[in-house]
């Protein structure tokens, strides 16, 4: 395989100095006349930070917007669960931050696998996001002076994270949701809650609509538009156990992929270092403990393997603060991928704590001694309560036990600088695109990217697309819609007609375990080959043995789940193939064969400095790889070091 640009992949990065690219691009864009905007209809699928922000902003501009979400209300999208904060290069802390530093930190944090121009733009518009949120009434934490407070996060040495206790995602999403609500009220946005996208409709090479299922009535309908935006989140639930909400799924992006959109870097997944460990086989999800806890908590394991003593009984000299030992410069605040692997390394060596030895301590005793219990309570009170509710242990008295868990996916549908996929008219926003985080995302940057895409990028770039594109009138009576509807119905009927005896969750758990074992925190060629052999067999069994009661024309939660699991069973294979193909380690993609003497990732820039974008060729067919080479003109590449 040679690294040459595929004709399908023109990133359309504007000319000029990186500091001026976005400004110049906005000036050169074709515009849609204000009076003409209402003649265009735009579909937005998903109502998280990216989707709500996009739908609200496009509605305000005058477009007719249809917005869809599978939850019963747009306010429940999974962005709501983000805890720690949102980054912005405001430099309110006067500690040396700048747009340039945020840009630099993000490219380095992503292990030099992100597009420079996109990341620079993200750092630029981060400033506007905070302003917009405050104006909407987002109650960020403040100092006694009345000004907004900041804290630090992993992978950086400045305090640039804005937060609202441990509920920053909730507050930002409510801000975007309220902006959306206003536009629903004014009639510019029509909202379709409890509605799931089941196919993308492409007419003459352009994305012109979607086919949906009303989850309450089961009705299948078509929706036509001039452009489609997918803001449907990540695919972390391919692992079954993850910190994602139960409903998070790959269906919208996977169905778009099957209609021709390339899927980029699916093997880049983020394993979050601080989650509550698994406690039993009934477990339905994993719960995150915000990375912000690493500001005041110290991570350690006993120096003696299988030490039977309670944590508080182990003296200072018999504790291994392994992050502080290995990474003195960043200590407990190293990036997520590094902290996760370090925990795995200690546990694999037999130093882990708790049931099964799959846990490490996150200890607040020193901070409580230094700052007092009330200060710790003010910073993390809700997280401590949540920990106690779930585990029945009090973290003010005994250290938390934590272990890494799947949290975020950096891969997604391929997009150009304008957030448009290789399929004309299909735009992809937020976690759903492969975007700006390279092979590892820094903490507090997901909220930043979702809102940047929704508020400040798509409103411009979609206008340029509409103004510069010839769009024939297309309505839902077009044959392409009828065909897609037929296929959706046939697929649903097939699921109902299997009439096996096994719940879709059973297959989902099995797939998740395969992926976790072979394409999780550490991967190797042989394990990935094994997964590639086993997944198609599991898929075959699913289609022989799954049981879905009732039919498709009522509220049927098992049918919804079965459809999503069926897509994960196809997607999981692509993910493993991407990991198998990428013979290097970078960021969250750790291939055991490629590490240095100290167990750090070893990139292979000569062969793999590219975005890997896959083209669908059919289920059980080998997909075709397209490469977009990455170039670094502004960031000086180095071995990523946090020592």
């Amino acid at each position: 395989m040679t690294s040459q640009t595929s004709p399908l992949l023109n990133a359309k990065i504007p000319e000029g100095d990186i500091r001026q690219k976005w400004d110049n691009h906005r000036f050169q864009m074709k515009l849609v006349n204000p009076a003409n905007k209402r003649k265009y209809r735009i579909i937005v699928v998903g109502s998280g930070l990216a989707g709500s922000a996009a739908a609200a902003s496009l509605g305000e501009l005058g477009y007719d917007v249809d917005c869809f979400c599978f939850q019963d209300s747009p306010r429940r999208a999974h962005s709501i669960a983000a805890q720690g904060g949102i980054n912005a290069a405001k430099n309110y802390a006067n500690d040396g931050d700048s747009v340039w530093r945020l840009f630099y930190d993000t490219v380095k944090g992503g292990d030099y696998r992100a597009r420079e121009a996109n990341v620079y733009r993200l750092a630029q518009v981060s400033l506007n996001i905070i302003d917009q949120a405050v104006a909407q009434g987002v109650p960020f934490a403040r100092e006694y002076s009345g000004y907004v407070d900041n804290r630090s996060f992993g992978g950086t040495q400045v305090s640039r994270t804005f937060y609202a206790a441990g509920q920053t995602g909730q507050q930002l999403l409510l801000g975007a949701y309220q902006a959306l609500a206003k536009n629903i009220h004014s009639g510019k946005v029509k909202m379709y809650p409890r509605t799931e996208m089941l196919d993308l409709v492409v007419v003459d090479g352009q994305a012109r609509g979607i086919v949906t299922r009303d989850l309450t009535t089961g009705a299948i309908s078509s929706h036509a538009a001039d452009a489609v935006c997918l803001a449907t989140g990540g695919y972390g639930n391919v692992f079954f156990l993850s910190t994602n909400a139960k409903g998070c799924n790959v269906t919208a992006t996977w169905r778009a992929h099957k209609r021709g959109a390339l899927f980029a870097n699916p093997c880049y997944t983020q394993i979050h270092p601080t989650c509550i460990p698994v406690s039993g086989d009934y477990q339905s999800k994993l719960t995150l403990m915000s990375e912000s806890l690493r500001n005041d908590g110290r991570i350690w394991v006993p120096t003696q393997k299988g030490d039977p003593r309670a944590a508080t009984q182990i003296p200072e000299g018999e504790r291994d603060y392994y992050l502080e030992r290995r990474y003195p410069a960043f200590g407990n605040l190293v990036p997520r991928d590094i902290a996760s692997r370090a925990a795995k390394e200690r546990c694999d060596e037999g130093f882990g704590v708790g049931p099964g030895g799959l846990g490490v301590y996150l200890d607040f005793a020193d901070s409580i001694k230094r700052l007092g219990e009330s200060a710790i309570k003010e910073r993390y009170g809700n997280l401590f309560e949540m920990y106690e509710r779930i585990t029945g242990e009090n973290p003010y008295q005994t250290p938390m036990r934590i272990y890494p868990a799947v949290h975020y996916t950096m891969g997604g549908l391929w997009v150009d600088y304008n957030l448009m996929s290789n399929l004309e008219g299909l735009h992809v926003l937020g976690e759903a695109n492969f975007s700006d985080h390279g092979a590892n995302r820094l903490g507090a940057s997901a909220l930043m990217q979702g809102l940047a895409d929704g508020y400040f990028i798509i409103p411009y770039t979609i206008g340029q697309y509409l103004a510069g594109t010839k769009l024939k009138p297309v309505a839902t009576d077009h044959a392409a819609f009828k065909d897609a509807e037929r296929e959706v119905k046939a697929r649903m009927n097939r699921l109902v007609e299997v009439k096996g005896n096994t719940s879709p969750d059973v297959f989902h758990r099995e797939l998740g375990k395969l992926i976790w074992d072979h394409c999780g925190m550490a991967r190797n060629k042989a394990g990935l080959a094994e997964a590639l052999e086993k997944i198609p067999k599991l898929r075959e069994r699913f289609w022989r043995e799954v049981f879905v009661p009732q039919s498709g024309d009522v509220l049927n939660q098992t049918l919804e789940k079965a459809g999503r699991v069926a897509d994960f069973l196809e997607f999981g294979e692509l993910m493993c193939r991407d990991a198998w193909t990428r013979d290097e380690s970078c960021g969250g993609h750790f291939r055991e064969e490629y590490q240095d003497d100290e167990g750090e990732t070893k990139r292979n820039d000569d062969e793999f400095e590219h975005v890997a974008a896959w083209e669908f060729k059919g289920v059980n067919e080998t997909p075709v790889l397209h490469k977009e080479p990455l170039t670094y003109e502004y960031v000086k590449k180095a071995v990523r070091s946090y020592k």
């Binding site: 209300s73 999974h78 506007n128 949120a133 009434g137 934490a141 309450t216």
Partner: protein, 253 residues
């Protein structure tokens, strides 16, 4: 860790028109470390294995923040533990209380019609927010975030009110089916901030009018909502809403 046996009486209703009934289901060998919803997952997998329709319930994040889940458990919204959503309620809580029999019902309120089993339609909440639960600022209009300082006390109180997750427990536990705590929380959140002052009078009028239109009952200060709110929203948000409402009406709307 230990396992417990429970007898469930679960509300089953095929569709909005069905009259519904309680089904008795034995839930044996449930881990005390499992959450209440994980207990339902286990029961559902067993129902499926017997070829039966599983119990429908709304849920998503399972960490107490999305507001999707919520059922009455033995007559209490989200069950017996204060400040906790059903997804964060763990089975050990029933064990320590010696509870072996659970009556599980959907939210019961005129404004929240049942769709199936434990799933209800809470879209009335969305329509109340649409009527005025926002600060009107278009994307791009905002001044610098630090241009207007906000007193820390006000910011903290606004945040407390803004932590409402819109689950509907307040409505379900109110004898009148009132949404006053939900609406009061939003009025308080936005009304305490300098950014929310311009629309303060019209906001309260529009939201309260919409609340009444959506067939929620009146608040008669029982306080059940406060007692059951998983996020600890306090009754004083209702006082604040009433105060703003009176001032707004007195000023001629």
């Amino acid at each position: 860790m230990k396992n417990i046996d429970l007898t469930l009486h679960v509300w089953r209703q095929e569709n909005p028109k069905d009259t519904g009934r309680f089904d008795q289901i034995e839930a044996k060998g449930i881990s005390t470390h499992a959450s209440f919803l994980e207990m339902l997952d286990v029961v559902n997998d067993r129902l499926l294995a017997q070829g039966k329709r599983p119990i429908a319930f709304d849920h998503d994040c399972r960490e107490g923040i999305c507001g999707s889940c919520g059922v009455m458990i033995n007559g209490e919204a989200h069950g017996p533990v204060r400040g906790t959503t059903a997804c964060q309620l763990h089975m050990r809580e029933f064990d320590t209380r010696g509870i072996k029999e659970l009556w599980i019902e959907p939210w019961r309120a005129k404004a929240f019609p049942v769709i199936q089993d434990l799933v209800v339609d809470r879209s009335a909440f969305d329509r109340i927010i649409q009527a005025g639960g926002y600060i009107s600022v278009k994307t791009g209009q905002a001044p610098d975030a630090n241009a207007v300082p906000v007193r820390k006390d006000d910011a903290d109180q606004a945040f407390q009110a803004a932590t409402c997750i819109g689950c509907g427990a307040c409505v379900a536990s109110c004898p009148n089916g009132s949404a006053a705590l939900f609406v009061g929380a939003k009025i308080t959140h936005l009304g305490l901030l300098p950014q929310g002052q311009t629309e303060r009078a019209s906001r309260v009028l529009n939201m309260v009018t919409k609340m009444d239109d959506e067939s929620f009952g009146a608040c008669t200060s029982h306080g059940e909502c406060e007692a059951t709110c998983p996020k600890g929203i306090k009754l004083d948000v209702i006082a604040r809403m009433n105060g703003d409402y009176r001032r707004s009406v007195a000023a001629g709307g």
